[in-house]
């Protein structure tokens, strides 16, 4: 296991070229709106929160006296559960409140668009970042093999546009590791183009043709060279399509940028920029239905809250609050953007993180690696505004002092595969798990 956990030579095995045929309306001048918002379109956006986000500091069991005693520095009181506008973030009559940094998520919850699944984990949870991430990415507890979205893509996306599944970012997350489909990673549209010598525009065709010819030679099956060539061709061809498509994007939604006043945090800017890229892709490329974004930095062993000014005691600001604010705001802006493009009924979003954190805080105003974590599932198709699953007891912890899971994360995956993506969860996950119920 240790040997293979971060290798995936199989990715190129038997790789076939995904069709890169230009959809007809890209050539013509048809209005995008109608085509893009096809009634049967099923867009799925996965949001990975890397590092192990503190679930107890996200969906807060504020009435539990054990919560307060385990977290003398970190615990919120009910009176503190108010967002920046002073609105309560307590979830109706339930004994939970959202972190005050998540005001936008609270509004989505209140309007029935956001569901929260409590107590998510799996048997014998692994406390290593890398094993745990592999387990969530592959949907099996050995963490070995292809990604669950990659398996889905191999089964369902062959023959579609090369941009039918897209990762926003520099490196491909393991969830997308596949045998047949190459999923592009795009970190910036400007850089996503095959450049040639600007001085000799007349030679560009020769350059592009030579690149194509040398990279479509036959390479040994399963070799690095084969995988590299396949990835390179996908990149160069996809780049041309992408450039022409996303140029047509317009939106009334403003995603935060560094020049805003007041200046947003780096986390907000970066995460919102990634979601804007997702919006640009899904509103201009009708096959682009499986999207992935990541936000890292959740490994808060220390200084989870506060800043230098408050000696790391102010729960309303600081490292975790910054990240949760980015998640909450980004998701809301993206939701609004989809609504503006007539796509709100066509999008489901899901957050995940490799583990939650230890209920008992450490001496660094932080928390060590833990187990269960809540998941957010957001979108018009979701039966939102309510809690699913079950919060584990803070009085019945495991030997390491961690929460015991109540809902297997593969139940959430399976429900999305079966009820939203039109796939077969048995075929993708290798077993069928009980549905949670957030999709009808």
């Amino acid at each position: 296991m240790a040997i293979n956990r971060r290798q995936f030579i199989k990715r190129s095995a038997g790789a076939v070229s995904v069709g890169l045929v230009m959809p007809r309306f890209w050539m013509g001048g048809l209005a995008h709106g109608q085509e893009i918002a096809a009634a049967n379109r099923r867009i799925f956006l996965v949001i990975q929160l890397g590092g192990g986000s503190d679930g107890l500091n996200t969906v807060i069991p504020f009435t539990d006296s054990r919560y307060a005693s385990l977290r003398p520095t970190l615990a919120f009181k009910d009176t503190e559960l108010k967002d920046a506008q002073g609105n309560s973030t307590i979830l109706g009559s339930d004994p939970f409140g959202l972190n005050p940094a998540m005001g936008e998520m609270k509004s989505l919850y209140d309007s029935g668009k956001a569901a929260i699944v409590l107590g998510v984990g799996y048997p014998n949870q692994n406390l290593s970042h890398f094993f745990a991430t592999d387990i969530w990415s592959t949907a099996n507890t050995t963490g070995a093999g292809n990604g669950w979205l990659g398996r889905y893509a191999d089964q369902r996306l062959l023959g579609l546009s090369g941009l039918s599944a897209v990762n926003i970012g520099g490196s491909l997350p393991k969830a997308f590791f596949a045998d047949k489909v190459v999923v592009p990673s795009i970190s910036s549209f400007a850089a996503y183009t095959f450049q040639t010598d600007g001085r000799f525009a007349g030679d560009r065709n020769n350059q592009v043709n030579t690149f194509h010819a040398t990279n479509t030679r036959t390479f040994p099956v399963s070799s690095f060279a084969a995988a590299i060539a396949h990835e390179g061709i996908t990149a160069a061809d996809g780049a041309a399509q992408l450039q022409s498509a996303v140029a047509s994007y317009t939106s009334p939604v403003h995603y935060p940028v560094a020049t805003d006043n007041p200046a947003p945090s780096q986390q907000v800017i970066q995460f919102c920029a990634a979601l804007k890229m997702v919006a640009q892709i899904v509103t201009t490329i009708p096959d682009a239905n499986l999207l992935y974004v990541q936000l890292g930095g959740f490994d808060h062993h220390s200084q989870e809250i506060g800043t230098n000014q408050d000696n790391f005691t102010n729960k309303l600001v600081g490292a975790h609050a910054n990240l949760l604010r980015a998640v909450s705001l980004g998701i809301k802006l993206f939701y609004d953007d989809m609504e503006a493009h007539g796509l709100a009924d066509n999008v489901v979003m899901m957050t995940w993180t490799e583990f939650g954190r230890r209920p008992n805080e450490n001496a660094s105003h932080g928390t060590d690696h833990g187990t269960v974590t809540p998941m957010f599932v957001v979108g018009n198709p979701v039966q939102g505004g309510r809690l699913y699953g079950q919060q584990p007891s803070l009085s019945d912890l495991d030997n390491a002092g961690n929460l015991k899971f109540k809902v297997d994360f593969r139940s959430v995956y399976g429900e999305i595969i079966d009820k939203w993506l039109g796939g077969d969860s048995q075929a993708v996950l290798g077993a069928r798990y009980d549905a949670v119920g957030f999709l009808t």
Binding site: S171, F194, D197, G232
Partner: protein, 470 residues
């Protein structure tokens, strides 16, 4: 003494360094296998004063001037100009191994850690591990400074065992090397580790934050110990475990030789080299020497079996071609190289997480491949030779050309590997002999052709799958 062919010398220099010109490869190959490896490993004997003068004249690395941009520019400048290539490569190995990031640690401490890594890169592993663990960068990075009596922070204790020494499961036997309880006990041994908040920021133990109670580690195994164990004790105990010898060997093989599989043959190989570590007082130098002189290192399986790291792709192209890098001056430098490397997935001084970078296909995505192709284009088409940045002149390129298109293609493929590119030779010849409208033209190595088609040719070679491999 085993002889060393030109191709073997080129392989050794690409792996133990970044690659070189034909002259450098010839000089290395003439020393034979053991002699060549010795010359790379005994880098302290190589005069590097030209680089040190250039660094002191063009960098501000003092306490108030240092920043992340400056230390990245500094490291790439070293990689491009050093005569001690193995020093930079092995430092990169340890940087990846101890995977500390500027995302949490200030630039001065990142720089100091890098200096420590190069200073102890070939020392006993116990000593390297101890000094890195007691250095401010690591004390901050894995929260040792807030790991205190009664409220242990497990971050360092966990990663010490999972990532720096043994791995969760033994890479040969598959046995679990430690338990969650061991993580807790080990964390207690490191309580109170801190550093003085005054230059040169030495390590100190905060006595009243240290847990002097009894700790029990690895119960029921041959390495079981109980007592008032200190952090130093833990490092000594863990460094002596065969699991650590195997894990380090496994990591060195994956970095320098070829991807290790879970086959019985590979497990036997790891076990064999792990004994070099155990039989030589945990000497990194002897382990590395054994690996670099081994038949495994020079086996057919090893050649071009790894995907180039971004830093290897960038620095290698410059060094092999004889390109020019103008690093700029104090705080006004060129970070062309570090920016390109970051975009390709390797942001020096900021590995993605505590496990370091994901190698081989971990470097390969559509975004990172486009970055490689586009760096090649930038390198080859940058004609602003007066400014900081990386470029190659027409004269430098012309010196590599030949009168015929076929020989020219072969010469550049040899220069950039040597690469065995099969059918690509014909395709690249066709490129040289094709004009703007797709019509055939006759190849001549005149100025105009060099500036247009030879630049294009080298760009194309750098986009070959073969050139992405090491």
């Amino acid at each position: 003494m085993a002889s060393l062919s030109f191709d073997e010398g080129a392989h050794l220099l690409r792996r133990a360094g970044f690659g070189g010109t034909p002259q450098e490869i010839d000089e290395l190959s003439a020393l034979g296998r053991e002699g060549a490896v010795d010359s790379l490993i005994n880098y302290n004997q190589i005069d590097n004063s030209a680089l040190e003068s250039l660094i002191s004249a063009n960098f501000n690395l003092t306490g108030d001037g240092i920043n992340n941009g400056e230390i990245r520019r500094w490291w790439f400048t070293r990689m491009v100009f050093t005569k001690r290539q193995f020093e930079e490569k092995l430092t990169l190995f340890w940087h990846n191994h101890f995977a500390t990031s500027a995302s949490k640690v200030q630039a001065l401490f990142m720089f100091n850690q890098n200096m420590l890594l190069r200073q102890l890169a070939l020392d006993r592993f116990d000593n390297l591990l101890l000094k890195v663990s007691q250095d401010p960068a690591m004390l901050i990075w894995l929260d040792s400074i807030t790991n205190v009596l009664g409220k242990a922070n497990e971050n360092f204790g966990r990663e010490l065992q999972e990532l720096f020494t043994m791995g969760i499961n033994d890479v040969v036997t598959g046995e679990q090397n430690y338990t969650e309880q061991d993580v807790k006990e080990v964390a207690r041994a490191f309580t109170g580790w801190n550093y003085r908040r005054q230059s040169p920021f030495p390590f100190q133990l905060t006595a009243n934050q240290h847990d002097n109670g009894s700790k029990s580690i690895y119960p029921g195994t041959p390495w079981a110990q109980t007592g008032n164990l200190s952090g130093e004790d833990i490092i000594t105990i863990v460094s002596a475990r065969p699991a650590t010898a195997r894990y380090l060997t496994w990591k060195l093989f994956n970095f320098f030789v070829y991807p290790i599989t879970s086959s019985a043959e590979d497990k036997a190989t790891i076990d064999r080299f792990a004994k070099v570590y155990l039989n030589n007082n945990h000497s990194i130098k002897e382990l590395v020497r054994a690996i670099l002189t081994s038949d495994e290192f020079f086996s057919e399986r090893a050649f071009f079996s790894l995907v180039k790291q971004p830093s290897e792709f960038i620095v290698g192209a410059i060094r092999m071609l004889g390109g020019t890098y103008n690093q700029g001056t104090n705080q006004r430098g060129s970070n062309t190289l570090s920016t390109a490397s970051r975009n390709m997935g390797q942001d020096l001084f900021a590995p993605p997480d505590v496990a370091g970078w994901d190698f081989n296909l971990g470097w390969v995505s559509t975004a990172t491949m486009l970055e490689r192709f586009n760096f090649a284009n930038t390198f080859l088409t940058n004609r602003n030779t007066g400014n900081p940045g990386v470029f190659i002149t027409n004269d430098q390129l012309r010196s590599i050309t030949k009168a015929s298109s076929k020989k020219t293609v072969k010469r550049f493929l040899s220069r950039l590997g040597p690469l065995n590119a099969g059918e690509a030779i014909g395709l690249l010849r066709t490129y040289l002999e094709t004009g703007d409208n797709g019509q055939p033209v006759t190849y001549v190595n005149d100025d105009a052709t060099v500036d247009k088609k030879i630049r294009g040719l080298v760009h194309q070679i750098m986009c070959l799958p073969e050139f992405q491999l090491n």
